[in-house]
């Protein structure tokens, strides 16, 4: 893939300082939410971002979109550096990048009508107004599976899945190139999740969208992603094409994540051996030294606590992992019963 990436993130860092002091507050510690993250996303591709609570994936999304100012590092959108740009310069760029949020109950203003919610971006950017605006909004509503008569309703009149559709319509309104979806289906029922995912799939083809899809459900991520990046405590520990990640995980954390997912098949479950990770995720305020996973890793040795592993190639198609003891072909634990390609 020699084409120019749509989004290129290099050494992105976002730390939150913790301040204390008598008269003047000084920094005493930092929450290292995102620590030296690099990856790129090709146009039309879907990058899945997987990790558990505290891994920094939500902070990463907001920092990429410049909703939070990066502490350091670079974010290039279509070749242009956007990290640290002023509000004014960012404004036209906001049309190109949009976000879908996790909680369909909290991300829609309950005092505004659906038509307003979806139409405001168009109005703010001066793209349409009046009857033209209304027509565009209604078309969007229909496109996401709602009806144009929902224009005048309020969010509380809709179910969770429908509200998420409204959020998608809002994100699409400006015809962005990149949509960052932060756990868009986690709060929905299983049968509705499938509907929303299929919708996002269709829209990607129709609108030529590029997605960054954040999720903690490994099954969902696998379905929608071309590539997947696994995060742990603010770092990317593995980055691979989707199918390869599931069939040949290299990083022990990835393997543990995969192993922890229950298989909805009683016989397979009985047959497989599951490695259950003990303990909790450490705090991002004072993360473990060197490899952040070493405190819970079944394969950790001396070097893991003294030297931080680099993100290196470990497989074809740009399969990257940061580990001193990557899982080799032969010793890969069974992640799911009888795995077949």
């Amino acid at each position: 893939m020699a084409a120019e990436p749509l989004l290129e993130v290099s050494n992105l860092v976002k730390h939150f300082p913790i301040k204390e002091g008598l008269l003047i507050e000084r920094e005493v510690a930092r929450v290292e939410a995102v620590d030296d993250v690099s990856f790129s996303v090709q146009p039309g591709e879907t990058l899945g971002l997987v990790g558990e609570s505290g891994c920094g994936k939500s902070t990463l999304c907001r920092t990429i979109l410049q909703l939070l100012a990066p502490t350091s590092g670079s974010v290039r959108f279509e070749g242009r550096e956007i990290a640290g740009l002023s509000h004014r310069r960012l404004r036209p760029l906001r049309r190109e990048m949009q976000m879908i949020f996790q909680d369909p109950y909290a991300s829609l203003n309950p005092r505004k009508r659906v038509g307003q919610i979806v139409g405001d971006p168009l109005k703010l950017q001066g793209i349409a107004s009046g009857a033209e605006l209304r027509a565009q909004v209604q078309e969007l509503l229909e496109r996401v599976g709602l009806s144009s008569e929902h224009y005048n309703r309020y969010p509380h009149e809709f179910s969770g899945g429908q509200r998420q559709r409204i959020g998608i319509a809002r994100a699409l309104a400006l015809r962005p190139k990149l949509i960052v979806a932060d756990e868009p289906v986690s709060a929905l029922d299983v049968s509705i999740q499938a509907q929303i995912i299929n919708l996002l799939d269709d829209l990607q083809d129709e609108f030529g969208l590029t997605y960054i899809f954040v999720a903690h459900d490994l099954g969902v991520v696998r379905h929608v992603s071309d590539r997947i990046a696994v995060m742990y405590l603010g770092k990317v520990v593995e980055n691979a094409p989707a199918d390869r990640l599931y069939s040949h995980p290299v990083h022990p954390y990835t393997a543990a994540l995969l192993s922890a997912v229950p298989i909805p098949d009683p016989r397979e479950n009985r047959a497989r051996h599951q490695t259950v990770l003990e303990g909790d995720v450490p705090s991002p305020i004072d993360p473990p030294s060197a490899c952040r996973f070493h405190t819970r890793c079944p394969r950790a040795t001396e070097i893991c606590s003294s030297e931080e592993p680099e993100l290196k190639t470990h497989g074809p198609d740009g399969h990257l992992a940061a580990c001193h003891h990557p899982l080799e072909e032969a010793s890969r634990p069974e992640v799911a019963g009888s795995a077949s390609a």
């Binding site: 299983v190 490994l218 969902v220 229950p262 909790d280």
Partner: protein, 359 residues
């Protein structure tokens, strides 16, 4: 009070429940609301044997949580109408006065809720909340109750329980809070634990830990469990029997293997079909169930799944009864008029079990 665990039989083997711990018969719960009468639970019956794990599966609005809470009497209120029978060890719970019900709660039947972040009072120390549970049922001295609390925290795998017993809830992580909730539930050694989506709000690795814990408690202490969840993966891990609920009704129930390998109801096919499986190649398009769950204020006439079912036919306007329709499996019941042969054929979608988008 600890019953002997099952004789090493692995989960999922067809055990017929001895039904001697909890019997729920024809339970109905209706709430009078501003918009009308909401039928949250409609004629649900099931049994739980000692040392058995029953999973109640369904999505939002299925009535699974209301059923669980009604067993404990937590849904009692002026606008709730509760009918039917709930017998726990041959004691009828529905007619009990509040004071008598309080004796049962915590001591014989314990409940663990979904969100560990909010299920513990943030202003009291964890140990104190466990001690409170213990001392509300028996006259043990405070010191002894505290020792028991520490013992329970250790039993659920919390490290350094002697010091953590004095922590506040916000000093625990999500997984640990859930463990603490379970410890609190087990402090009085009940014989039945009702776990309402115990792992849904947790990360996947922590979820695995909690499910493991529940399994261990079931095997080591003979603890019977009613597991409420929408996650069929979790069900497949530890359940013995499964009850599938939809729109307030039980639509299918049977053993674990029966439900997963020989499901009889289209909704069950839909649930199984929309699961993504990590050990199989991914389908081109994720199978989905079209439409939305029905309104509980005005449920559809006839079969409640009819509006979303691609296989609906004439007879579906008549509400199907919950019956065992397979002669070789008298405990496997479902609510669908189609014949077993038709079902076997219809549920096969591209080589796996699922719900077709059109008939």
């Amino acid at each position: 009070m600890s019953a002997r665990p099952e004789s090493g039989a692995p989960a999922g083997s067809a055990t017929i429940s001895d039904g001697n711990l909890l019997n729920v018969a024809d339970l109905s719960v209706r709430f009078a609301t501003e918009d009308g009468l909401l039928k949250a639970v409609d004629g649900v019956s099931f049994d739980v044997g000692s040392s058995e794990i029953l999973a109640i599966v369904g999505e939002s609005g299925s009535g699974k949580s209301v059923t669980a809470q009604t067993i404990m009497g937590l849904t009692r209120s002026p606008n709730a109408q509760i009918e039917g029978s709930i017998r726990f060890r041959d004691k009828e719970l529905t007619g009990l006065r509040d004071a008598e019900l309080q004796d049962v709660r915590g001591k014989e039947i314990a409940m663990v809720f979904q969100d560990p972040m909010t299920s513990l009072n943030p202003v009291y120390r964890v140990g104190r909340q466990i001690v409170e549970a213990i001392r509300s049922h028996s006259e043990v001295p405070a010191e002894e109750a505290r020792e028991k609390a520490i013992e329970m925290l250790a039993a659920v795998g919390i490290p350094a329980p002697e010091s953590r017993v004095d922590n506040f809830p916000h000093e625990f992580s999500g997984g640990m809070r859930q463990r603490a909730m379970i410890a609190m539930g087990l402090a009085l050694e009940p014989s039945l634990l009702i776990a309402d989506e115990p792992s849904t709000a947790l990360d996947v690795t922590i979820q695995a830990q909690i499910i493991r814990l529940i399994q261990r408690l079931n095997q080591e202490r003979g603890l019977a469990v009613i597991l409420i969840t929408h996650d069929l993966g979790v069900v497949a891990e530890i359940a013995d029997r499964v009850l599938v609920m939809y729109a307030g009704k039980a639509v299918e129930q049977g053993t674990l293997d029966e439900i997963f390998y020989d499901p009889q109801h289209p909704y069950t096919w839909g649930l199984l079909g929309s699961l993504t499986r990590l050990d199989r190649p991914r389908p081109r398009r994720l199978p989905q169930i079209k439409g939305l769950p029905p309104s509980l204020l005005a449920p559809p006439t006839g079969c409640s799944f009819r509006p979303r079912c691609p296989h609906a036919f004439g007879r579906c306007t008549e509400p199907p009864s919950l019956e065992a329709r397979l002669s070789e499996a008298p405990q496997h019941m479902d609510r669908c008029w189609k014949s077993p042969d038709e079902k076997r054929e219809l549920r096969n979608v591209e080589g796996r079990i699922g719900l077709r988008s059109e008939a």
